[in-house]
């Protein structure tokens, strides 16, 4: 392995930050290894909690967590579950949170505290600021640059929102790094052990699985799968439901599940039950809720495991899909790495061992692995280490909406990033100077089943007859997994300007279900998609041929033959004929035009351009 001496032109201090659902922390590369940065008390984990105290103070971390019960409606936690999403997508999640969520601009969620409204980015920024301060105290110098981790399954909008949070915290985020990839780095720091590794990352709110090939210092992600809405919080939620059910009913009072204090107390009790059940076969609970009464409850591990079994099964389904997407079989996985606090649950380990037939590695503390790995990538980006290279992938396919609501996929999921694709677009109406593109992320065939990332408006297209402008649009996914779009009109070389309107239009449930659904619904999607495609094609052919006929000077017998075929196809369209009939109509028209098509089109284009020049 080659390792050049580090002589960076501008030595920089770059830390790795794990911005977690439950806890956050920073780490720094130190010699051959890496170390986490601890606060004055020697604690590395900073709870991802912010409390807006009624006395005006803003508390972050442990101090904020301590206020959970005293000020449940002013203490914000699990903000990562809200970032980069819309209120609509959150569904009934806000109802389960003790702090109030309201819809702000563009239907984006805001946390309401007194008169003020806070965006998830702003709250994440407060957490990142605390992480930054802790790191600065531990290192004795200012920290400005960081690598921040996100779940591999985060989409474009969630990645962008995380970058925004870092910027708000005064950090220059050099890279958005996928958590399972970071964890893999922590386990194989110098990359000297070649092989195939599976990283299973079950955190507080998200689940990721990634398959990596490690090859002479190059960490190449082969595939990734996951669920941004599945984690330890959901285990707590199931235990919380049991506790709520055991609560004595008090007639005439507001439902217990709507009282922020009760919600928070139950949540806290559920978490402690879960932790006890990781080492004991049964756990007892005595919860005093004052006027609400007292709950006495015993939960056995078997009961807990029966409750979480469907959730654990969902993670195993993801594991199998990731292995398959990597083009591998389960037995070809050399190493299994566990990350995230929720992998402490014995059932999770047992089921994973059962599936893969291997004992998972647990050498690195699952709460620290992601930050440690991020600090290693940070060191690479600082220019200090040239022996390592990470090649990651995009988790979900990117595409654009075509006529009729189908999605044309441009970049397929699990493509190594950076990646780019260029497509040429034209106009549908004469003298059209702007084109709208809707960009979607997801696996399904129809736009309505994918998540709309945003809306791109191409402007400054030279006014020409319909179909003549050739606008080359390049979709580039950068190393952060974030999309960048550029456009150029080919005839004039004019750079078209792009206005991006980000939007989060669809329910998150759909994104979560997308992968499974895309398998189940592949057939139905295909038929629906094909029908739309054929219709679009037929309509375009009718329009195009009529236009060409009007412009080209053809002998009468040819004109007649073409007109006859165009009319026939037009009739089929008007009668809403099925895909097979339309296809036949298109084929018939093609047969007629095939022999003369080249002449007609070149003559038509030449004529259109001539008219254009004369007109101006």
């Amino acid at each position: 392995m080659s390792s050049e001496a580090a002589t960076p032109t501008s030595p920089r201090l770059v830390v790795g930050i794990d911005l977690g659902t439950t806890n956050s922390l920073a780490a720094i590369r130190a010699g051959k290894g890496a170390r986490v940065l601890r606060d004055a008390d020697g604690e590395p984990l900073i709870p991802s909690v912010v409390c807006f105290h009624p006395d005006g103070r803003t508390l972050v971390g442990r101090e904020a967590k301590a206020e959970r019960l005293a000020h449940p409606d002013r203490t914000v936690f699990s903000i990562k579950r809200l970032i980069g999403r819309s209120v609509h997508e959150l569904g009934d999640e806000p109802k389960r949170l003790p702090y109030p969520i309201v819809a702000g601009e563009r239907d984006l969620p805001r946390v309401r505290v007194g008169e003020r409204q806070w965006s998830p980015e702003a709250i994440s920024a407060l957490i990142l600021q605390r992480v930054k301060q802790t790191a600065e105290q531990a290192l004795g110098q200012p920290v400005q640059h960081a690598v921040v981790t996100v779940p591999a399954w985060f989409d474009d909008a969630q990645r962008q929102a995380t970058k925004d949070a870092a910027a708000l915290a005064g950090l220059d985020c050099l890279r958005i790094l996928n958590e399972p990839t970071a964890a893999a780095l922590a386990y194989g720091i110098d990359g000297s052990k070649d092989g195939t590794a599976l990283v299973y990352d079950l955190g507080g709110g998200t689940f990721d699985v990634s398959i990596l090939r490690i090859d002479d210092g190059v960490f190449r992600v082969l595939s990734t799968a996951g669920d941004t809405h599945l984690g330890g919080d959901d285990f707590d939620e199931l235990l919380g439901q049991r506790i709520l059910a055991a609560l004595p009913r008090v007639a005439g009072k507001v439902g217990a599940s709507e009282d922020p204090y009760v919600l928070q107390a139950v949540r806290k009790a559920a978490e402690s039950l879960k932790i006890k059940l990781s080492s004991a076969e049964r756990a007892d609970l005595q919860l005093d809720l004052g006027a609400r009464g007292t709950v006495t409850l015993t939960v056995t591990r078997a009961e807990f495991e029966a409750a979480i079994a469907p959730l654990v099964q969902r993670t195993l389904d993801c594991v199998q899909r990731a292995v398959k997407d990597a083009g591998l079989r389960l037995e070809q996985i050399d190493d299994v790495v566990l990350v995230g606090g929720s992998t402490r649950v014995p059932m999770v380990r047992a089921r994973l061992r059962g599936l893969l037939g291997k004992e998972p590695h647990t050498g690195v503390d699952p709460d620290l692995a992601v930050a440690l790995g991020a600090s290693i990538q940070a060191d690479v980006l600082a220019g200090n280490d040239r022996s390592l290279l990470l090649l990651d992938v995009i988790p979900l396919s990117l595409g654009i909406e075509t006529l009729g609501g189908a999605v044309q996929k441009l970049i397929l999921r699990n493509s190594t990033i950076p990646t780019s694709v260029t497509e040429e677009f034209s106009t549908g109406v004469d003298n059209q100077t702007a084109v709208d593109l809707n960009v979607f992320q997801g696996e399904r065939e129809l736009a309505k089943d994918c998540r709309r990332l945003g809306h791109f408006k191409l402007r400054g297209i030279p006014p020409l007859p319909a179909g003549l402008p050739r606008i080359a649009v390049t979709f580039l996914v950068d190393a952060d997994g974030v999309l960048r779009v550029t456009a150029r009109e080919q005839r004039t070389g004019v750079e078209a300007s792009i206005q991006i309107v980000p939007s989060f239009g669809l329910t998150r449930d759909e994104v979560r279900r997308m992968m499974l659904d895309s398998i189940e619904n592949a057939q139905a999607d295909y038929v629906a998609r094909e029908a739309i495609d054929v219709r679009n094609k037929a309509e375009a052919m009718v329009r195009g041929t009529q236009k060409a006929l009007a412009m080209a000077e053809l002998p009468p017998d040819q004109t007649y033959a073409v007109q006859k075929a165009v009319k026939a196809l037009g009739k089929l369209l008007a009668a809403n004929a099925d895909a097979a009939a339309l296809k036949q109509g298109c084929d018939d028209l093609t047969k007629v035009t095939a022999t003369i098509a080249d002449d007609v089109i070149s003559a038509a284009v030449a004529k259109a351009l001539r008219e254009e020049q004369q007109g101006s």
Partner: protein, 166 residues
Amino acid sequence: MIHVPAPDPFAVFGLARSLDLDERTLEQRYLKLSRECHPDLHRAKETGDCIAVLQRAAEINDAWKILRDPWQRARALLELLSPGALERNKKLDPMFLADALELAEEVAFASAENVPQLRTRLSGAVASDMQTLRAQLARGDVDAAARTLHASHYHRKALQDLDAKS
């Protein structure tokens, strides 16, 4: 919408245009190029994340995706040797299409015990397509090669569908 082809993947990898590339050599070349051009390792030189560096890294990744897959490699090669040959030879023999349709149905309704036997048959068909293609290219018959490639797509698709099933 018209797809604009990516740059010549053979040129991106600095390799002679050929149907036959050694898998291991190709992979080594990919890793070497990635080390040379990945934006992560060029940040320190203040190149930042500028579009040109990203675009170059994207080209390498995209070329790798094409070259590592024999079918996509063959398609890229044909398109380079004779632009338009694939478009020209899209129309396939109706008899072949009928067979292909039957094959797709066979895959869709294959029972678990039939899968291994079907997989062997389809893998064989894909391999033999590539042999045919090689011979056609060797004697410079690009039109025949284009038809073989289109036909091979059906075998390849059936194999992928079969893998997705199990």
